[in-house]
Symmetry: C2
């Protein structure tokens, strides 16, 4: 297949967007958002729908012990594992219609375009619905892909409990989605993994671009801090004789912000956030004696996160000393920076170029692609989020942007399949695919065709 | 009675301290603290004890509709209302053995000294146990004295509910303490009100003084603030595109502290505290979209509190503007500065001088004396709190300090009774009281006699 042919194949924007909303029949909320928690009845229904839908386009299905569903369409060389396109159909309890869903629907659309055009890809093609990416009902997040990648065991995954003490394993069993396949990259391998996802941030919206290549995922570290001062009466305790734990916490919040917004670290994309705070005893006239905060540090570079941590520890210690506070500062989670596969990135880059989507981003959030990247070549595409809003019923990506993401994925996928073909010349039997009715397209055309939606 | 005789009368330090702990039999906790919430079974038992105890020293009792108990010992001129000494026997749920209790016990000790020495005071003497000063179970605080002073109605008082929806009126009824007396300064008057209380702050401990005159009570204002930003993903939202409500709140906490610790306002005793904070959605990777804080402002001067409020509003608005936040800033409670009665202060001053207690403070906390001061001459004495700790099982006042406070009260009370006698020369029948076995004493002696306790 030539590069011209890659560009000539087009996704159907109307269909992409209709499929998003079709999949939202189960778990939609009156405010236009979604509440489809892992392994509930709505999750069962959308899984059944996913299987039926992908069956229409020539797929057979593998379901693993974690309920991850692999819809596989054969290629020319079926001795190879499939090239996969995956994301998740579970949502936050007050989530939107695009987070995860867009990625699965983009995979379905690529499958449909390939199928309708009677293309026999070189490697098999898989579309994956990963279980419990959100972790909203069964923490932690990215659990299905994490078990598959060997980061967690299946036993661990099954033993996760929701707020009512119900186990994920039991719920998957109840809805009929504990598959016979082992959840493992070794016994159920894929050749590579593409993921389309909404950006969940404001950069593309600000840049007025529909989609972008994601070069990798930020380095992230989470910390739990406890600041202990001395409870005392707000009225009878002079300002200079206090050990005010909440004042200390406030100074730390301001200091973390200062560190992440200053100098080279800031220029290189540092982020420091405190979003969780619990103060005791929460009495208006008793100075806070104990405050717990969580610190979230990020950067595209592992060494920068290490440096932000060092500066925070130094600054926070100084604040504690000055205000007579005791500080406990514990690292509770670390995720190293991920750099996606160079070849797959190049496929995405070339495909994006055809749509004018030349921006390259680093993902600030974790995705199933983080775990798959530990085991197989992986790449991601981000689609613009209106106002950067996500995990919210107001989450929105325009129809033309959803189509652009799917189109960028299609071009990248076809290029990568071709790359695999080139890598395996001996096993190639046909040098060209059958492509029916190639139609010229561009992002501008897609936009124009979708303004009525 | 001459001034020499005032000084010759002495409280019994061992008895003062034994009585404190005797009264703590009901509601004491294993950690040495107290948990005696208003109108519970322990509160009933300590009320019964208070009545039995004061009956031994010649008192009859009036119980009003709010359960306030007035133990009255007749004087020479029983056409006058009694000079009262009052405080409260209810405690915080994790309170100590001195807050309130010391004040009531000091009153009992004065009563005992007067009684044992066969003194017939000029005006009747009353010891009062005010209901629900803490407001811990039935907010608001200082409720019994507040109803008596006409700040609240009895209906309002009875209708207060605890966390289980139980009404104070019903609970008082259950323990047999809805009295027949109207709760009113008009129908059940007192002539004046003395209150001994622990300082609940570190000033006396720092100054190494056992007790002090309280000149008045600070001006206080409470505010509820809501800061609204925009929830967004901590990883995918650049630092310069955030409206972080918790960062805004942190900057406000720091700014309020700066205002109260700077320049003239600080020199004149300003205090600004934020001790209550609630942030949403409390997810480690979602920037806080809404934060609620309570602000507590104080100063000995009403005009300074007004100025601190102005500066806070100005500073907080600037922070909100800079960070794209919406600010709601509402005053929820105001208590004007109280200046205690000059004559009563002079009585306390002279009594303190005999013990070397010459410090004069402004109370940072509210007490029953705040409400009584609205209706009758009122004065207070503070007793040293070890490390300034209060509302905590670790709350502690040394035996010799408790005795010093009671001694200072005794001298002040006798002086004021004498002042009333001078004011009413026509009705005086005897010009001297019978004083049995006057014994010289001083604070140093009290200290020496108590070091074994």
């Amino acid at each position: 297949m030539t590069k011209q042919l890659f560009a000539d194949l087009k996704v159907n924007s109307t269909r992409v967007n209709a499929t998003i909303h079709e999949s939202c029949e189960w778990g939609c909320t009156p405010d236009g958002g979604m509440n489809r928690l892992t392994a509930n009845d709505d999750d069962k229904k959308v899984r059944d729908w996913f299987i039926a839908k992908t069956k229409e386009y020539g797929c057979s299905h593998k379901i693993d012990a974690m309920g991850n569903i692999f819809a596989v369409r054969p290629g020319q060389n079926n001795s190879l594992p499939p090239i996969a396109i995956g994301s998740h159909l579970d949502t936050q309890p007050t989530g939107g219609r695009y987070d995860g869903i867009l990625g699965v629907v983009s995979g379905i659309e690529v499958l449909r375009v390939v199928h309708e055009n009677n293309i026999t890809t070189y490697a098999p093609l898989a579309v994956i619905n990963w279980t419990n990416e959100e972790g909203a009902r069964f923490p932690p997040c990215m659990l299905g892909s994490g078990v598959w990648a060997g980061h967690f065991t299946t036993e661990y995954g099954h033993a996760r409990v929701d707020g009512k003490g119900i186990k994920l394993g039991d719920e998957l069993e109840r809805i009929g989605y504990v598959g016979t396949e082992e959840s493992s990259f070794e016994t159920n391998p894929i050749l590579a993994h593409f993921e389309v996802h909404i950006e969940q941030g404001p950069i593309l919206d600000k840049a007025q671009l529909p989609a972008a290549l994601v070069k990798g995922v930020q380095s992230m570290r989470w910390y739990s801090l406890k600041i202990t001062g001395r409870e005392a009466h707000t009225g009878s305790t002079p300002m200079d004789r206090r050990s005010d734990a909440l004042l200390g916490a406030a100074l730390m919040i301001v200091e973390a912000n200062r560190i992440a917004t200053t100098g080279e670290l800031a220029a290189r994309g540092a982020r420091a956030t405190i979003a969780v705070i619990n103060s005791g005893p929460q009495s208006i006239n008793t100075i806070a004696g104990e405050v717990q905060i969580n610190l979230d540090l990020r950067s595209p570079f592992d060494e920068d996160v290490v440096e932000i941590e060092r500066l925070c520890r130094e600054g926070f210690e100084a604040i504690s000393k000055l205000h007579g506070l005791k500080l406990e500062f514990e690292n509770i989670w670390t995720s190293s920076a991920v750099n996606f596969d160079k070849t797959m990135q190049q496929c995405v880059r070339e495909s994006g170029l055809e749509l004018g989507c030349t921006m390259e981003l680093t993902s600030g959030a974790g995705h199933d692609a983080v775990y798959t990247s530990k085991r197989v070549p992986t790449a991601m595409i981000f689609v613009r989020s209106k106002d950067g809003v996500s995990h919210n019923p107001a989450e929105y990506s325009r129809p033309e942007d959803c189509a652009a993401g799917a189109q960028m994925l299609l071009g990248a996928y076809l290029r990568y399949d071709d790359h695999i073909r080139q890598q395996n010349p001996a096993s190639v039997t046909n040098t060209a695919d059958v492509v029916k009715e190639p139609v010229s397209t561009s992002y501008t055309e897609l936009q124009a065709s979708e303004v009525s939606e």
